[in-house]
């Protein structure tokens, strides 16, 4: 396992009874990288990600996240990662300010720090008028950006995004990816699952999961070259076809 790898995975396996959801996957992620974790529904993306987040204990194999072991140091991992799920995971009955305050508190930020962060985020997202509005009254795109900002409120080394752009229009998706780039510029490692193949093009490197295995892993342009096609979508179709 390399010194400069922020996530290091070797032969990681997860079985549910006789079903193997994740089958001996091996990969490394470098700091500041945007690592795309692609695959069809049910290919094992979410299971793999849950293991890396310390939500699920692997059946076998090795993995470290931010230098911590996924078997024994899940608590330390949790302190060093941010997480955003496909459901956006904000409290709908709380206001923007209260949500920022709550999650800041969960991650142990001091009162002053939370105030600072609240002002900073409201300013950054240009949602001054929504400060005291309930989350449920906000447009989906705002919620999603806010959820991402909150996921990195404690300035983690890595942020895990589980299909963060589901059900969002293309323009908002584009804006969302701008935010991801900004985070990566600040040396936050981004680990993102998606099944939008156009988004795969934005990643530094992508891995393709098929039936619990990693079928391909490289830079998007290299993959396209390797399969002799023009888009990531075609790469995906070529890889997934044998499984279908």
């Amino acid at each position: 396992m390399g010194e400069n790898h922020i996530i290091s995975v070797k032969d990681l396996t997860k079985k549910f009874g006789s079903f193997t959801a994740v089958d001996k996957i091996t990969f490394d992620v470098r700091p500041g990288e945007i690592f795309g974790f692609l695959g069809a529904n049910g290919a094992g993306k979410t299971t793999a990600m849950r293991m890396l987040c310390g939500l699920s204990i692997p059946t076998s194999g090795k993995a470290t996240v931010a230098g911590f072991d996924v078997y024994r140091q899940t608590e330390s991992i949790k302190k060093n990662i941010g997480y955003m799920s496909q459901k956006f995971s904000l409290y709908e009955d709380l206001t923007v300010k209260e949500n920022i305050d709550f999650y800041g508190g969960v991650y142990g930020l001091s009162r002053e720090r939370r105030k600072e962060k609240t002002e900073f985020l409201i300013d950054l997202l240009k949602i001054e008028e929504a400060r005291n509005k309930l989350i449920k009254s906000l447009p989906l795109g705002w919620k999603q950006k806010l959820a991402f900002s909150i996921a990195i409120i404690h300035e983690p080394k890595i942020v895990f995004l589980d299909e963060p752009t589901g059900g969002v229009d293309p323009i908002t998706r584009r804006q969302f990816w701008d935010m991801i780039y900004e985070a990566a510029d600040r040396n936050v490692t981004v680990f993102v699952t998606t099944h939008y193949m156009d988004e795969a093009e934005y990643c530094s490197r992508v891995s393709m999961m098929v039936d619990g295995r990693i079928a391909a892993l490289d830079k998007p342009e290299k993959l396209k070259e390797q399969f002799g096609v023009g888009t990531m979508h075609e790469v995906f179709v070529k890889l997934a076809r044998p499984a279908a």
Binding site: L55, E75, K78, Y91, G108
Partner: protein, 341 residues
């Protein structure tokens, strides 16, 4: 579900007495009293639980909560009846459940009246047995005395178990639970955080019910108030742990609601002895009622509030509630771990 409900209602709601446990204190021990006792005990409505020896045994016998009535024959009962054509019998009933006490007394007096008319046949001087009735713990037979303990358990269960389970499953549904689980908070902190507001709310509820029942309905609190509060807190924790258990087995709010209402509220109202005495139910329902936490809590509350019993009389009920709580928490933890794996 409807089948279960119909069966439950049909069998649980009976206004008949069957094998009600009674005690007899017989000062006379003559043929007449033995005949009356036999008549009463062979009627099918009553069952002899114990023979008492002295008046000081009466109160403790009731406190144990097993017997519903004590029949006391005066000394020289038979001789008095022979000589004066008059004799006294005292019927003492546990009126902490007023309806049931009324029925028990009604059945007993009619059996005695029956015996009296048999005895009087062909005699010039009619025999007269004079039953003197005493309603213990609730002399005015106020039904509110029965409802308050039941109401307390239903309200506490409703708020604690249902609200807890719904609020935890809501977090699961919205996905916020997942984010909390990924955060540095450990599961224990999350659950305690979810439960504390409801614990406080339910304590306020308990206090409100108690104050209302004392000052609006004039239900006495004969026993120790701290003991009552301690037992209520225990029941609250039982209900909360039940709520947590429900939330670990249900994935959305509807399921949690259905389980809370169908599997919890209904049996609690019907099988706990809240409205219908457990003793009258078919044996199988009596067995089922044993696993309903409210049944034990209602016995505790009635014991403390109306009978003024000390902890010595309710340690078993307390232990049962404690055991249930530990069981619910253990199962929840186990379920929770499986989910994480």
């Amino acid at each position: 579900m409807p089948v279960a409900q119909v069966l439950l209602f049909g069998f649980a709601i009976t206004n008949e007495i069957r094998d009600a446990k009674i005690a007899i204190l017989d000062f006379a021990k003559d043929n007449t009293t033995r005949e009356i006792s036999n008549k009463i005990l062979s009627s099918g409505y009553f069952m002899l639980y114990e023979n008492l020896q002295s008046p000081s045994d009466i109160e403790p016998a009731f406190r144990k909560g097993k017997i519903k009535e004590v029949i006391i024959f005066e000394p020289d009962f038979g001789a008095n009846l022979e000589r004066d054509g008059k004799a006294n019998v005292q019927l003492v009933a546990d009126a902490s459940d007023p309806n049931f006490a009324n029925m028990v007394i009604g059945y007993t007096t009619s059996i005695i009246a029956d015996y009296q008319s048999e005895l009087s046949k062909g005699k010039t001087l009619p025999a007269s047995i004079n039953p003197e009735i005493k309603m213990l713990y609730n002399p005015n037979l106020k039904s509110v005395f029965m409802f308050v303990p039941g109401l307390m358990s239903v309200i506490l269960l409703l708020v604690s178990a249902m609200m807890t389970s719904i609020s935890i499953t809501k977090e699961k549904e919205l996905g916020t639970m997942e984010v909390l689980l990924v955060s540095p908070l450990n599961p224990f902190q999350i659950i305690v955080g979810k439960v504390i507001p409801y614990l406080l709310l339910s304590l306020v509820n308990t206090a409100t019910v108690l104050v209302m029942s004392k000052f609006v309905f004039r239900v006495p609190i004969v026993g120790s108030l701290p003991l009552l509060i301690a037992e209520s807190t225990l029941f609250l924790i039982t209900a909360l742990s039940l709520g947590i258990l429900i939330s670990t087995i249900s994935n959305n709010q509807q399921t949690a609601m259905m389980i809370s209402l169908g599997a919890l509220m209904l049996p609690t109202i019907i099988l706990s002895g809240y409205i219908f005495p457990v003793e009258n139910m078919p044996l199988i329902l009596q067995w089922i009622s044993n696993i309903i936490p409210a049944r034990w809590y209602i016995r505790i509350v009635k014991g403390i509030m109306l009978k003024g019993v000390s902890f010595n009389y309710i340690w078993m009920e307390t232990l049962i509630l404690l055991g249930m709580t530990v069981f619910f928490i253990a199962v929840s933890i186990k379920k929770f771990k499986i989910r994480l794996e």
